[in-house]
Symmetry: C2
Subunit: 186 residues, 2 copies
DNA sequence: GACTCATTGTACCGATCGGTACAATATCGA
DNA sequence: TCGATATTGTACCGATCGGTACAATGAGTC
């Protein structure tokens, strides 16, 4: 009870990478063990409910990262433009300029969505909502802000797909630049 | 040698649906058999190289559909605006207003991309290229046309992700409308 | 040192994985 | 009708799946 957790963050980050690269079905316990250096004994000790709990924890971990680095900055009431720029910077950093894929977006596509539907919906809803509110504060009408926010988050997700398909990070960078420009225009 | 193939189109369409819903790894031979009503004997008779051949055939089938219904209309030299509108209509029809996911886009995200990288890249490259050329013919500068084409295809892919995440086809419809407007503006 | 309790490796489970072998059955042209 | 070929069902293969059991080890407290 004294020890908080050794490096749960790093552990979850490693597990996340396996789910990102192989998908929920493709990420076998053996692969996760190899990637983390942990045997089944350890993995099932940390995640007694098994694979589904692992994926759930990974989603929650990613969600927490976005909450802290994207959603909170977007809620900065005084300088909405600054918060929006923070979002773009964090997004570019997180997805490594398009080298990395959005695990939550990938889970949304196939049947694994059913297992995590609530978390997936919540993640994207908060992203769009907080961005929309920042845009409203920045001077857009609420309706226009909703439209722009949905368009922006969609553009980011689509750019991740195209960047992977083309194997070209420039696709992602261009999309971020276009989105920045679209949101700055008044 | 006389029989061309009984209903290969329908067969591939059914197999495609399994890959779409479960991903490459998640689509087991048993699931494919259940969805098509064919046993292993038949499946391995039609696709002797197994699962990878099935997925390859499905990708080629989808590619052919887009070639005929999207890329060819986009190449109509006389009326580029008409070709672009055809693209939007076919896209909306194919993805069933966002109820359906893009199998090729989904494959691009995880490790199954490596198996089909060439076909995936070709599919998206042709989509963007043909759209860009149509936009150039419609009066945009080649540079602007490239930008708009990449943005449009990305917006469609992103909208498919969001529509699934939100379980709301309206997200997809709105994205298509925005894209139409963006391409019509001169 | 002794007592906890967290952590780990290993053996094992039934189920399912993708794939093969092959005999039985349709379907066809001659 | 006959022979060739296309199609199918079934039994089976070794490998791997996710998960469980449990004894051995680790580290910290008293």
């Amino acid at each position: 009870m004294r020890r908080i957790a050794p490096d749960r963050d790093q552990l979850l980050a490693m597990v996340a990478e396996v789910f990102r690269e192989h998908g929920y079905e493709g990420a076998s316990i053996a692969l996760i063990g190899a990637a983390t250096g942990l045997g089944k004994g350890s993995l099932y000790h940390f995640f007694p409910s098994g694979k589904e709990e692992m994926a759930g924890a990974v989603i929650a971990h990613i969600d927490g990262w976005f909450e802290e680095n994207v959603f909170v900055p977007l809620q900065d009431a005084s300088e909405p433009r600054v918060g929006i720029e923070r979002m773009f910077e964090a997004t570019d950093r997180y997805f490594r300029s398009g080298r990395r894929v959005c695990l939550i977006g990938a889970f949304a596509l196939d049947e694994s969505r059913d297992l995590f539907a609530k978390a997936i919906k919540s993640y994207f809803t908060r992203w769009v909502t907080h961005l929309s509110e920042a845009l409203t504060r920045a001077g857009h009408s609420p309706a226009k802000a909703d439209e722009l926010a949905e368009e922006t988050v969609g553009a980011i997700q689509g750019a991740l797909t195209l960047a992977r398909a083309f194997d070209d990070t420039a696709v992602f960078s261009r999309a971020l630049q276009r989105a920045r420009a679209a949101l700055s225009a008044n």
